[in-house]
Point group: C2
Chain length 178, copies 2
């Protein structure tokens, strides 16, 4: 499968820690390979993501970059397909086939805001995509986008070297240790 | 359409404000009618949700309850179908048809945690459903669940009396006032 990188723009250390953590964990659980944060540098955030990976497995990576522009431009120069998720974009069902076609041939950089996304991001992206044109959550948008792109395969991803895993149950919690 | 209520258990005023706001906005954007919070009473949270509804339209409601048990039991006594979203549950594709069948005849109460969900919730629910068995985000789980239940209709919901709306665009922001 092609690789998927999530670029989370404008992380604020005092306000966004939990949302940014949810962004990273959603990216990992739904099949992305890497999350890159810009904005405030936040080692606590990266540590908490790494701890989840250590426990629950997989090879998901996270790091900080000082420049979203550099991340986007270097992805473009590699020939990656750049999708910006925004409530201002075209609704996903109208462009899903186009995105799937591109994803057959190119790695994907998925850009998500952030309180204020610079207008340059809208023009640098290959496409601006909305998961509805209503205000809600970058976590929700990321989850639905990856679910639509990857289909039910998100329920069967493998996370090698997990120390712990869940046995699905209708009525209780069943955790197993590897 | 049948009504959908989201019950968000265990809101913490000092830690969960943004996540709980994202839960509520996701519920609204994706077709739920109501969100009920338990845990800390938080008028700032309810105000911020109401402000979004005022601006972006629709009839979405939010309120606080002192007891999740009361909310679940009163839903059950009305004959509602109670789904608890949890990473410990059965994966959605394995039970989606069963849930859709129930939703044809019954209103839906969708329960989401919260830091620590009491084990009683698992047994009170009609079904415990996972959006993958990996740790990620209640916002992501809620979004994907509603997307799967309601299909692409989430992209065409109407929000009467909106003061503002978006004209979808591939490359820029287009906002209109009603």
């Amino acid at each position: 499968m092609r690789s998927i990188t999530v670029l989370r723009i404008g992380h604020r250390i005092d306000r966004d820690q939990r949302i940014s953590t949810h962004v990273a964990l959603t990216a990992r659980a739904f099949g992305a390979n890497l999350v890159i944060f810009t904005g405030d540098e936040d080692s606590k955030l990266l540590n908490s993501i790494n701890k989840v990976v250590e426990k629950w497995g997989g090879v998901f990576k996270s790091y900080y970059s000082h420049s979203w522009r550099e991340v986007i431009n270097s992805a473009k120069s590699r020939g990656d397909y750049v999708v910006h998720l925004t409530m201002y974009g075209i609704n996903l069902p109208d462009v899903l086939e186009e995105i799937k076609e591109n994803f057959k041939q190119k790695d994907l950089l998925l850009v998500i805001g952030g309180a204020k996304v610079p207008s340059e991001v809208y023009s640098l992206a290959d496409i601006n995509v909305a998961i509805t044109n209503q205000p809600h959550s970058e976590v929700a948008a990321l989850a639905v986008f990856l679910r639509e792109l990857l289909g039910n395969s998100i329920y069967n991803l493998s996370f090698p070297n997990a120390k712990i895993f869940i046995q699905p149950s209708k009525f209780c919690k069943k955790i197993k240790r590897a």
